[in-house]
């Protein structure tokens, strides 16, 4: 297999006294979708935020062969690590178009420009001058995805993109994922909806209380194995 695009080694992150990540390691290869699953408080979002440069960590993060552990968040965007944060975090005083264009600030040149991202979601071009606060939750999520895409990421970090959205909207959003992967974009996906995440992922990693409890290809594990890792109870031995 080729060299991983992203390698994280022994990440430890503390929030005050609380240890949110304990020696978590991870690899993501170009073009693959890697899902991080786990219950509330397992450390999934902390892992993504750490990779995006929002939390200091001990351990080591290597991207495209270069150590980026101490780099700022905006420097990581220049390298191609771009995040769609939990709760969308759009800029409320900016219009739809301004929110998307702001993603270009440190972005790379490539396939995704304003026209291309408008092409993903039909409604967007006509409502480009509206404030994002006038949009529904699903529409806001789509803007957040476009804002990330216009930076032409090499690694897209998606944090709970289905949270608080109607199933039909989630379906729409997941439908565009294959289009994103037409190029060599790798996706690291944090998702509470385990079934949805495992459906689109090539590989997954399950976290529990900041530790990795299971990792591999979804095809290699039964639903019961994943459940056991997710909730932290020991998987039953298979019958002889």
């Amino acid at each position: 297999m080729s060299e991983p695009l992203l390698e994280a080694h022994d990440l430890v992150v503390r929030h005050g006294q609380l240890v949110a990540l304990r020696d978590v390691s991870l690899q993501v290869h170009a073009g693959e979708v890697c899902a991080v699953v786990g219950a509330n408080g397992a450390g999934k979002s902390t892992l993504l935020r750490t990779l995006a440069g929002l939390h200091p960590t001990s351990g080591r993060i290597v991207f495209a062969g270069e150590d980026i552990t101490r780099e700022s968040a905006h420097a990581r965007v220049r390298r191609g690590i771009v995040m769609v944060p939990e709760g969308r975090r759009l800029f409320r005083s900016l219009t739809v178009e301004e929110n998307i264009l702001i993603g270009e600030v440190s972005g790379r040149s490539g396939r995704w420009d304003l026209d291309a991202v408008f092409g993903l979601f039909g409604w967007m071009r006509d409502r480009r001058h509206e404030r994002v606060s006038h949009l529904s939750g699903g529409e806001q999520q789509q803007v957040a995805i476009c804002r990330a895409l216009i930076a032409n990421p090499r690694l897209l970090l998606l944090d709970e993109i289905s949270l608080g959205l109607a199933p039909v909207i989630v379906q729409q959003i997941y439908q565009v994922l294959p289009e994103l992967l037409g190029e060599d974009i790798a996706v690291l996906l944090v998702e509470q909806d385990v079934a949805q995440a495992l459906r689109v992922a090539n590989r997954f990693q399950c976290l529990l209380e900041g530790r990795t409890t299971l990792e591999g290809s979804p095809a290699d594990f039964s639903a019961h194995d994943v459940e056991a890792a997710y909730f932290g109870f020991a998987a039953e031995e298979p019958a002889p």
Binding site: A73, H74, V77, S106
Partner: protein
């Protein structure tokens, strides 16, 4: 007719107040900094002109060429060092740091220039006025300051609304962490916002120095009027500061028309009334929930 003149003078005075309030509003709106050194910075701007103009008779309008750029650099440097560090420790620390800066500036000016009052010369402009009739007088200097205030506010508004950097500043004001996630160098952009705010403070200081006498301890009064204009207009709203400044100016001159001793008191009372009736100001920044 005297009442009409009082209204005109109030609007002209409002221009000066709005100019003071512009930088204060921007620093608070974008960076969340309540800058207690704002008035002293304005006074410093006037003293920089005193120090660098070749003589006391040189027209102080020349100082507009060098004071705003110097203050922009000062603002950027202050944000990247002193203010940023204090912001990381919380809003109370920022308040204390700007208070400390205010004390240091005031004492440094006292040390350097003594407690004597100064004023900036604008030649014959200071006495020239347009007099449509015997009871109305529109000073060209005061009118010029109002025009400068409107132009400065319009330019800052245009910069924020139409440029890429302005968009980044607005994004930073909305959500600084999200701004860094999308690739904005938040420290640099905050520095630019502070540079713009400080440059406007420099202009306000020059305007005040041309308008009235100033001394090292004049900053407190300027800060008070700046704050009141920002709060009357609405926090974070640039055009609101112009409205706030004009309301304050009108209250002061109309009050003085009733009784010359109560002009300033009237301005403070109007501020209290607006705060009680419309705590978000007359034109609050409109960001829908």
């Amino acid at each position: 007719m005297n009442w009409i003149n009082a209204i005109i003078q109030g609007l002209l005075l409002g221009g000066l107040f709005a100019l003071f309030a512009c930088g204060l509003s921007m620093l608070f709106g974008v960076l969340g900094i309540i800058n207690l050194a704002h008035g002293d910075l304005a006074v410093l701007g006037a003293y920089v002109a005193v120090a660098l103009l070749p003589s006391v008779h040189t027209n102080a309008l020349w100082a507009l060429l060098f004071v705003p750029p110097m203050f922009a650099v000062f603002g950027y440097a202050s944000q990247r060092t002193l203010l940023r560090r204090s912001m990381e420790s919380g809003p109370l620390t920022t308040l204390l740091v700007t208070f400390g800066l205010s004390v240091v500036l005031e004492n440094a000016l006292l040390e350097g220039f003594s407690a004597d009052s100064h004023s900036l010369s604008v030649g014959s402009l200071v006495t020239k006025a347009f007099r449509p009739n015997s009871s109305i007088s529109i000073s060209y200097l005061r009118l010029g300051i109002l025009v400068v205030a409107v132009v400065v506010l319009a330019l800052v508004q245009l910069f924020l609304a139409r440029t890429g950097t302005g968009r980044q500043i607005r994004a930073l004001a909305d959500d600084s962490e999200a701004a860094s996630i999308v690739g904005i160098n938040t420290r640099h952009v905050a520095g630019i916002a502070a540079a713009v705010a400080f440059a406007t403070v420099g202009i306000a200081g020059l305007a005040d120095g041309m308008y009235a006498q100033f001394g090292p301890t004049s900053g407190g009064t300027l800060l008070l009027f700046g704050f009141e204009a920002v709060i009357i207009g609405g926090l974070g709203s640039l055009w609101g500061t112009l409205v706030g400044g004009c309301v304050l100016g009108l209250a002061q001159t109309i009050g003085a028309q009733i009784d010359p001793t109560i002009g300033v008191l009237c301005a403070h009372v109007v501020f209290l009334v607006v705060l009680a009736v419309k705590p978000n100001g007359l034109m609050p920044a409109t960001v829908d929930a």
